[in-house]
Structures are given as structure tokens and as C-alpha cells.
Amino acid sequence: MKRLVLRDLSKTYFDPYAGAHVTAVQEVSLEVQQGEFVSIVGPSGCGKTTLLNMIAGFIPASGGEILLDGRAVDGPGPERGVVFQSFALFPWKTVLDNVAFGPKIRGLSKAECERIAREYLALAGLAHAADRYPNELSGGMQQRVGVVRALANNPDVLLMDEPFASVDAQTRMTLQEELTRIWQERRPTIIFITHDVGEAVFLANRVVVLSKGRILKEIAVPLPRPRAWDLLTEDAAFKALSGQVLQLVRSA
């Protein structure tokens, strides 16, 4: 089992405006099992993006450790795929080449890369867009590409940093439903960062509430799947869980 373990993870940095050291993440310990879908939710400034950037290896931790399958994380790596809020697609590559990028640099044959890329594009309903360039697509379509680009590289953990925050509300609900469907089909391990309580509860098996760099509470989400907004919006259990998380976030 490939487990992701955070142990007493901390991040302090010097804030030149405040003229002092600021603690963004403070002794966070968390275990994520293989195939789990964990949402990390909290108000802006709670340290959730800093936490994700440390797991991704974009910034070094100040203290504690990150273990994936028992091995310490050092810098970015293909076993931890990332989906960015800004999509971060390569504008000079077609959609197909964006998705095939991971397999390609792993050294797979051209035909195999294309087969993988087309398979994942089909999974997100993007088969028709393979030869387009990212700037020719809507924001929602671009982020679908962002998600399958990360998935096509077959990472142990998928790290998602507020991926649906910059698309419109209707598209966001569609993307959320698609993500739960893809998760059910492929069972990737996902850590999903968001400030949207409804989104956090809708997607995850477990919601971690973060406040001022610390874990405030972990809440299990035993809602049945497949999940759809039509069913859940009026669902009593969903409402109760969302209310509970919202209270925690607001008290934070």
C-alpha cells in the first residue's frame, strides 16, 4: 500500500513586510491511504496551498517530514502529480501533446504515448479536442486537460490546488461530478485543496479542516457514491456535514 504520511510538517518563512518570521504551516500530521480522496479546506491564509506546495516538492519544509511509501520526498517528482489552479498547460503543445508529455519523458514509444493520451482524453470527454491548442479551449475544458495530463502520468498521489476555483459555477459543478466519476473508475489517491466547503464535502471521503497552519479537525464523509449535485443538494446527511464543516471553517 502506497501511503502518504506527513509528520509534524512545518513551514516558517521571513515576511519582509512584517519584518518577522511567519508560520504558515505548523506541525501538521496526516496520513492518506492509497485510493483515498481527501479534501483540505480552510479560509485563505490558512496554509493549505503552502502545505500542498511542500508535498509537491516546490518549496522545502522547515521542519517535519513527508513520506510517500516510506520514502522521504525531496523536490518535485512524477509520483506526485499536480493540478494547478491556473491550469499550467503548455501553450505551445496541442492538447494531445500536453497529456502525452509525462509518458513521453518516461521514455515510452510514440505510439504508446499517443494511445495513453487518447485513452485519458476520452475519459474526460475530450477526444475531439486532441489537436487543438490550449488557448482555443474554454477554462473548463483546459482544466479537464490539466486533470487528465496529471492522471495519464499514473502518479501515486494526485495533488489538486483549488483546480476549479477559476471556472464558472455551472462548469465547476460538472467538473466536480466528472472528477468523482473518474475517481470511482480509476481510484487515484487525491489530495484536494479548496476553500469551498460544499466542494470539499461533495468530493471527498474525508475532509481535513485547516486553520492558522494547524489541523483543526478531520471529518469522515460516508456519503454514498456516485455523487451528483441533483441528489445531494437536498440530502440531509450532506447538509449536516457541510454545516458542520462550515461552522469549523468560520470559527477558524
Binding site: P78, A88, E136
Partner: protein, 259 residues
């Protein structure tokens, strides 16, 4: 919409030039301008035909284009790797940016005196002037291009498993390419102007020399013909080679021009 858009565009481009030609002929004839001051259209056409037939035009154009090609290629070969290397590190690029901005502006004609001291008159000095015109602008633009690639793109590539080499070939170079192409276009513009100036001073063959030589014999028709050739050659180079290249990279990718 007209039926042949390209033909229409060409006509729109040529029409004002034709008007200029007409005015020129009318003015020279009606005012009785001396050919020593300014030639009429026919004399220029005749001089042009003459230089084409006896091969002098080809010789001068060949020499000029050869220098441009050598100087530009050398500059590009050196400045792109250098620009990338400097752009990768924010500290280095911030430190060196003012320097390259300064030399980008200085590049060109101002180097002619020192170039002739170093290389003597001829090919070396002129190629050096062209090299400088292109080198600083392209290095500066490459540096700028690499430095302005969003950090998320580098992060994305690293998270997909990119090695340093892959990062260079798949992210940094294509990401900076629109800036590089813009730099080459600007640099060649400087180089072309510098070339003509340098050839007037530092050589005995080339378009600039052709103009300057004709001046000694009051052959205004040769001077004007040479000026027309210089303009047309630049337009061809820019329209047929550089502008399409710039369009292909910048517009296709929907990237914002940064330089």
C-alpha cells in the same frame, strides 16, 4: 469582402508607393530639377537595369547579404544559449538586465569606429557590427522570455518528471521562443541599418558602398536605385521570413508578446 484578399492586400500596400512614384515624376519634370540634385524615374530605372545587367548589383547585394547572414547566424548561435542560461536564474537575469538593455540600444552603428580599429576595413569589421546589433537584442529578449515563463509551467513539467535537459528543450526554449523571434526581428532591423552605414565607411563592396561610390560621380540615379533596393530587400526579408515566423509562434499559441 473582395474575392482575392491577398491580391487586395498587395494592392493596398502598393497603391501609396505608386502615388509617390507619380508625384516624384511630376515634380522632377515640372520643376526641371537637375539630375545632379535628384534623378527622374526613367533614369533610375535605366541605372537599375544597367547594374543588373553588368552584374554589379548582384555583387553588392551578395556581399551585403552574406555579411548579414554570417553575423546574424553567429550572434543567434551564441546569444540563445547565453540568454537561456542567464534567464534561468532570477538573480543573474535581474543583475544583467540593465547591461543588456544598454548595449541593445547602443548596438549597431556606434561600433563602427572600434570595429575598424580591431578588424581593419572589410568583411570582419562589418560582420562584427551586424553581430553586435543582433547579439545584444537577442540575448536580452531570450533572457526576458525565459524569465517570464510562468513558474507554474516549470512546476508542472517538474511534477511530470522532466529532467533538466527536458526542461530546457520542452519548456524554457519553446516558452521563450516568441521573445526570441521578436528579438531576431528587432536585431535584424538594427543590423540592416548598421550594415549600410558600415559599408559606406569600411569596405569596397556592398550596397552601402555602391551608394557612397555613386555620390562621388554625382550619379543620383544610382543612389536612389540603391536606396530602393535596400528598402525592398528589408521588406522582403521582414515580410516573407520574420513576420510569418513571429505570427506562427505568437498567434498560434495565443501568447502575449512580452518585448
Amino acid at each position: 469582402m473582395p474575392q482575392f484578399p491577398r491580391l487586395w492586400a498587395a494592392l493596398k500596400f502598393i497603391a501609396p508607393l505608386l502615388l509617390l512614384l507619380l508625384l516624384w515624376e511630376l515634380l522632377v519634370r515640372s520643376l526641371g530639377v537637375s539630375p545632379r540634385v535628384f534623378p527622374d524615374v526613367e533614369a533610375v530605372a535605366r541605372a537599375g537595369l544597367e547594374t543588373i545587367q553588368d552584374g554589379t548589383l548582384l555583387r553588392h547585394v551578395g556581399a551585403s547579404l552574406g555579411r548579414v547572414a554570417v553575423g546574424t547566424l553567429l550572434a543567434i548561435l551564441i546569444s540563445i544559449p547565453l540568454g537561456v542560461a542567464m534567464g534561468v536564474s532570477p538573480a543573474v537575469s535581474n543583475f544583467l538586465t540593465p547591461l543588456f538593455r544598454f548595449f541593445s540600444v547602443l548596438a549597431g552603428i556606434a561600433w563602427i569606429p572600434i570595429a575598424t580599429l580591431w578588424f581593419g576595413y572589410g568583411f570582419g569589421a562589418i560582420t562584427f557590427v551586424i553581430f553586435n546589433a543582433v547579439f545584444f537584442v537577442v540575448t536580452y529578449n531570450t533572457l526576458l522570455g525565459v524569465a517570464s515563463i510562468p513558474p507554474q509551467l516549470r512546476h508542472a513539467a517538474a511534477s511530470l518528471g522532466a529532467s533538466k535537459w527536458t526542461m530546457l528543450t520542452e519548456v524554457l526554449l519553446p516558452g521563450a521562443l516568441p521573445n526570441i523571434v521578436t528579438g531576431i526581428r528587432t536585431g535584424l532591423g538594427f543590423a540592416w541599418r548598421g550594415l549600410i552605414a558600415a559599408e559606406m565607411i569600411a569596405t569596397n563592396v556592398g550596397l552601402g558602398y555602391m551608394l557612397f561610390l555613386a555620390r562621388d560621380f554625382y550619379r543620383t540615379e544610382v543612389i536612389v536605385f540603391g536606396m530602393i533596393v535596400i528598402g525592398i530587400l528589408w521588406l522582403l526579408l521582414d515580410r516573407l521570413l520574420l513576420a510569418p515566423l513571429e505570427r506562427a509562434t505568437i498567434e498560434r499559441w495565443g501568447m502575449v508578446r512580452k518585448a
